[in-house]
């Protein structure tokens, strides 16, 4: 059975129309059809969080959502959110704390962290750990990831933004 379905959606601000097989999950569609390699594929059953993307303003698991379900939706990936500057201070903080390590989990971690900062701006270190528990880091870089997120939470509460250490030319 290869009956394709036509979908129209917005991805990182661009309107996309495509034909997809119903069985194709969203992250495969983003990676294989749209060449957006930021969302990663890890476990493909919802355990690891590497495939995290935003759909209609909320983070979701890209492997537990079908491309056909995204018809009519607004999808944002790490590529679009980086370009818009929405994650700039979080990304800067991750760099300062060397919270990337191999980088495989980073796009998912950043999107999950951004939603935490939005929804629970007064989170404690323990609450950050609980929230981030949905995203696996295979280099076990959790400690520095939690520190990076805490710095952004504290800066935001003071109304500050984390600025780059080295000024760009």
């Amino acid at each position: 059975m290869t009956i394709k379905k036509k979908i129209t959606l917005t991805v990182n601000g661009a309107s996309i129309t495509a034909e997809v097989e119903p069985r194709q999950h969203l992250v495969d569609f983003l990676r294989e059809d749209l060449f957006l390699k930021g969302p990663h594929l890890g476990c493909e059953h919802g355990a690891c969080g590497a495939c995290t993307v935003k759909v209609d303003g909320q983070i979701i698991r890209g492997c537990l959502f079908l491309a056909v379900q995204a018809d009519g939706s607004v999808v944002e990936t790490i590529e679009g959110l980086t370009k818009s500057g929405a994650l700039a201070d979080l990304q800067e903080s991750f760099m300062r704390h060397n919270a990337m390590q191999c980088g495989f989990c980073s796009s998912g971690m950043l999107l999950a962290a951004a939603e935490l900062i939005e929804k629970q701006p007064t989170s404690t270190r323990e609450e950050v750990r609980e929230w981030i528990s949905g995203n696996y880091c295979r280099c076990t870089g959790y400690h520095s990831i939690v520190s990076a997120i805490m710095d952004v939470l504290e800066a935001r509460l003071k109304g500050e933004k984390i600025k780059p250490v080295v000024a760009h030319a």
Binding site: M1, T2, I3, K5, E21, P22, R23, H25, D28, E44, H45, G46, G49, T52, Q58, I59, I60, R61, C63, L64, F65, L66, V68, Q69, A112, E115, L116, K119, R129, E130, W131, S133, G134, N135
Partner: protein
């Protein structure tokens, strides 16, 4: 892993979904949030020929107050429950339980009705609906029927929902100011399936508690209410002696089964650990 091929259809009204479901028979599978289903499809544990996506059906949405009942539509997501002021006020047990359900990215899609209809004994909502004496509102070819949570969960992943029926909503009696509650689960990683969990409510009567509902989950093939233990602690001051006898009673009463990593003995032990913590927590609320 990738799912096997299937067709996909997205009805917009309940009547259409019911007729599609009847037409598809065993080949059809409803999808709402899909947070369990997609994993089983990806692993090819399930290979339906057609997915019927019910997420556009307005009749299944929304949280509202209907008289003295809190009505939660089947399509309400775990996040909506977590963030709802109506839930926080009228069913605070659900608000306390919500953050334990997987992780935010999953809670953003996974639904109340999906969790209940799937009937996973390790899941939070079946246990909470039993504890809060929820009524399931079900629609099928013959019209609407209502069934209590106590009669709804039959066995492992088995509910009284017929294959041609759809769970529309549930109604939960609203909590009054005298209701006290406790929710906790023990898991290896926050958000993972519980090794054992306890959902509990009781009513404050002076400095004692009555009308207990103590529901253990992830210890047997359905969530289980500890009826004998409830009777034992009812209307008693929760002294250390009473709590100790309740712990022994619950371990004797709940017939735990092992899972892939935890033995019966571990589960029985954790039932007591959870109950002791829960009763101490409830006792503290009783004197406030």
């Amino acid at each position: 892993m990738k799912a096997a091929a299937f067709d996909y259809i997205k009805p917009t009204v309940l009547a259409e979904a019911l007729s599609l479901l009847a037409e598809a028979g065993d080949d059809g599978q409803l999808i709402a949030g899909g947070q369990t289903l997609l994993a089983t499809l990806n692993m090819r544990l399930s290979e339906p020929a057609i997915l019927i996506d019910i997420t556009d059906i307005n009749e299944l949405k929304g949280i509202s107050l209907v008289g003295n009942q809190l009505r939660i539509g089947a399509l309400v997501t775990h996040t909506e429950i977590e963030d709802s002021e109506l839930v926080a006020k009228h069913a605070p047990l659900l608000k306390a339980a919500a953050p334990h359900i997987a992780h935010r990215a999953i809670r953003n899609l996974g639904t109340w009705g999906g969790s209940l209809a799937y009937g996973d004994p390790a899941a939070e909502w079946p246990a909470c609906s039993l504890t809060l004496n929820a009524t399931m509102i079900i629609v099928g070819p013959g019209g609407e029927r209502r069934i209590s949570a106590q009669d709804f969960f039959i066995d492992l992943y088995t509910t009284s929902l017929e294959p041609d029926e759809i769970l529309v909503a549930t109604e939960i009696p609203v909590a009054d100011n005298n209701q006290v509650f406790y929710f906790h689960e023990l898991a290896r990683r926050h958000g993972d399936y519980a090794i054992a969990g306890l959902a509990a409510v009781a009513q404050k009567q002076g400095n004692v508690l009555s009308d207990y509902a103590l529901t253990f989950f992830s210890v047997a093939s359905t969530p289980l209410m500890a009826m004998k233990t409830q009777a034992l602690v009812n209307d008693k001051v929760l002294t250390p002696e009473v709590i100790a006898s309740a712990v022994a009673a619950a371990r004797a009463e709940i017939d735990a089964i092992a899972d892939i990593t935890n033995s019966v003995e571990t589960k029985q032990h954790l039932i007591g650990v959870l109950l002791e913590r829960g009763l101490k927590h409830l006792a503290a609320q009783a004197i406030n």
